[in-house]
């Protein structure tokens, strides 16, 4: 029974990892940028949710759309005002730029919010749905629902709308896309903004499921990268699968192997990179 509980815990956690990977994967696949500030966006969202709850007492699941909207705007501004300036420079440039943003956001947060451990704890935070011997925390279940809804909406947006098609077109061929009249700068900004909004959703969910402080988010860049590599770049089902696998890995590593999940996550990443660099479900294009 213990084993089943661990599997469940890992899967529940995995849905949050999946939306982290999804946002990261969009920016990587379409803009060809590894956004090292992704973890900092998650951190900002977690603190925003926490302060909305601790101050005016807004329920985290009510705050979720507000946080996502705030992060969407932030992402749009950062891409259209700053990163768009270096889109034709080498990969090293965007790497260093987002690395600088990440370090700036985390260190400013560390000064403003201190390194105290915080957690958003609404009244139902420590209550679980009991199924026999199994316990499913309500916040975790809510996270799964949110993750599934967000993923479906993203899929429909990319697949069915004109704007979504233009994003996919830019991902496939930038030159051709701009030739048929797609505004590259605007599309980049929109993609980055959606990715930031997804990070926002993940941050809100994470702030309810575990305690956090600014440095505790650093691991999520590597995690997001691993999820994407594992699932394959440019694949929504891949990101979902990668997230679930990493949820399980991290749960079992935390329980049986080491107290330090980081090393295990890293070891799995190296294994995946060496054995299967295209990912489990990797294909061309963005689906």
């Amino acid at each position: 029974m213990d084993l089943v509980q661990h599997v469940l815990n890992g899967l529940l956690q995995g849905f949050i990892f999946a939306i982290i990977g999804l946002g990261f994967s969009m920016v990587w696949g379409i803009l060809n940028i590894i956004n090292l500030a992704h973890a900092a966006f998650i951190m900002l969202a977690a603190y925003l949710t926490y302060f909305l709850w601790a101050g005016p007492g807004v329920d985290p699941f009510v705050a979720l759309p507000l946080v996502m909207a705030a992060l969407f705007v932030l992402g749009y501004v950062i891409q259209s005002r700053i990163i768009n300036l270096v889109m034709r420079a080498s990969v090293l440039t965007t790497f260093l730029l987002t690395f600088g943003m990440e370090a700036l956001l985390v260190n400013v947060a560390l000064r403003l919010f201190t390194a105290d451990n915080r957690q958003t704890k609404p009244s139902y935070a420590n209550v679980s749905l009991a199924l026999g011997d199994l316990h499913l925390p309500y916040t975790q279940l809510g996270a799964v629902v949110v993750a599934l809804v967000v993923t479906c909406l993203l899929y429909l947006f990319l697949d069915r709308t004109r704007t979504g098609s233009s994003i996919r077109a830019v991902g496939q061929n930038k030159v051709a896309a701009s030739l048929i009249g797609i505004d590259l700068g605007r599309t980049y900004a929109l993609t980055f903004a959606i990715s930031a909004a997804l990070a926002g959703a993940a941050g809100t969910l994470l702030s309810t499921t575990s305690g956090f402080s600014p440095p505790s988010f650093g691991i999520f860049n590597i995690l997001a990268f691993s999820v994407v590599v594992l699932g394959g770049l440019g694949s929504i089902p891949g990101a979902l699968a990668g997230g679930l696998v990493f949820g399980l890995v991290s749960e079992f590593a935390g329980t049986y192997a080491l107290q330090e999940r980081e090393v295990v996550v890293f070891a799995v990443l190296v294994l995946v990179l060496v054995l299967r660099p295209t990912g489990l479900l990797g294909r061309e294009g963005y689906r």
């Binding site: 990587w28 590894i34 090292l36 700053i82 768009n84 300036l85 270096v86 889109m87 034709r88 420079a89 080498s90 990969v91 090293l92 440039t93 790497f95 260093l96 730029l97 690395f99 600088g100 943003m101 990440e102 370090a103 700036l104 985390v106 260190n107 400013v108 000064r111 590259l184 700068g185 980049y188 650093g218 691991i219 860049n221 590597i222 990268f225 590599v229 330090e260 980081e262 090393v263 890293f266 990443l269 190296v270 990179l273 060496v274 660099p277």
Partner: protein, 367 residues
């Protein structure tokens, strides 16, 4: 105040030595004068702490310059080798039972050698990866290394090398007594550590100078410009990148070991050695000076520490330390946007420094 003057003097001399517009004999003279100024610096100033910091940081930045500048591979994990170098050197030099108590001139080169072997092993795994994949893997190295040092299986009481990194007890470098020379007390901080720091900077500079004129250096630049073309020309890119990675780690370990030696207590300073500030510092220095150049890290280090010394003298130093990492990261953003080739851009070519030039850099790679 003296230190600020010395740092600015070094900056002027280094810029002159690097300038393409100066005559060859002027450049050589400026280089010699720079070395002379650094050699007599402890006689001019009664505390050489900030100069020591600048010189060791320069050595570490020269290390980052090899992989990040010449090869064009952003490594975010060099801080791991910096810390590891300090810990391994301490493990050899500690006078605690179970340690070898080697003298520094044996222990530090040995530590650099061991870190190089570790870096080679890591490099062979991560350097099969290109661009994005490589950089993320190095980010993992930075996170994993502090955990590795506390790994019971290898370094615990019953580990493979029992208690090499202290194993629960504090790990210390031996204290250095002040030397006596004809009745004159020579403070260890002021003299011994300063000259050790100078030595690391000279090693970093010389290694880069040799590299830039060697076949390896040209191969690395070729990889940076176009890895597929380099491979097509018959360059063994994996081997070359591995060598660059090892050299980069070795310089980080050298600087780290000397920094650790001065800090003395590894157990309490572990967080400081593996800190994000150290990681940012080597990148900032290289970027400000000019990545992929011989004088870039030297110029970057003199500027960064002159700014720090200036700020420290006008503001309260604890406030400064708290915001240091934030300032470094902001500097990275600003330099990447406005000065992607560093200050060397204005020293190496015909370009003169103008504000318009900075704005042109900002918009050069717009969508």
């Amino acid at each position: 105040m003296t230190n600020l003057v010395v740092l600015l003097g070094c900056l002027v001399l280094a810029s002159l030595a690097a300038s393409a517009r100066a005559r060859a004999d002027v450049r050589r003279g400026a280089g010699a004068a720079l070395l002379a100024l650094l050699l007599i610096a402890p006689l001019l100033s009664d505390t050489t702490s900030i100069l020591f910091d600048a010189l060791t940081a320069m050595c570490i930045a020269y290390g980052w310059n090899v992989i990040g500048g010449y090869t064009g591979y952003a490594s975010f994990g060099n801080v791991a080798y910096l810390g590891l170098g300090a810990f391994v050197a301490a493990g050899f030099m500690s006078r605690q039972p179970g340690h070898l108590a080697l003298p520094w001139f044996v222990a530090i080169p040995l530590a650099v050698g061991i870190v190089s072997v570790v870096a080679l092993a890591v490099g062979l795994a991560v350097l099969r990866l290109r661009g994005h994949y490589f950089s993320i893997a190095t980010l993992g190295v930075a996170i994993a290394m502090p955990e590795l040092i506390n790994w019971d299986f290898a370094f615990g009481p019953d580990g493979v090398v029992p208690n090499f990194f202290g194993g629960g007890r504090p790990l210390n470098f031996p204290l250095v007594p002040d030397a006596q020379l004809g009745g004159l007390a020579l403070g260890a901080d002021r003299y011994l550590f300063y000259y050790l720091g100078l030595l690391t900077a000279v090693v970093g500079f010389s290694a880069t100078l040799l590299l830039s004129r060697s076949k390896l250096g040209y191969a690395l630049v070729a990889i940076r410009e176009n890895e597929d073309a380099a491979e097509a020309l018959g360059i063994n890119t994996t081997a070359m990148k591995s060598l660059a990675y090892v050299l980069s780690a070795a310089l980080a370990a050298l600087g780290g070991a000397v920094v650790g030696y001065k800090l003395t207590n590894m157990t309490t300073e572990a967080d400081a050695l593996f800190s994000i500030t150290n990681n940012l510092q080597m990148i900032v220095i290289t970027l400000i000076g000019g990545p992929g150049s011989i004088w870039g890290p030297a110029i970057g280090a003199f500027i960064l520490f002159a700014i720090q010394e200036g700020l420290r003298s006008v503001s309260n130093s604890s406030l400064f330390l708290e915001w240091q990492a934030a300032v470094f990261s902001l500097l990275i953003i600003v330099v990447v946007l406005f000065l992607p080739r560093g200050l060397m851009e204005f020293l190496r070519g015909r370009e003169r420094f103008t504000w318009r030039r900075l704005l042109r850099n900002l918009t050069a790679n717009r969508v």
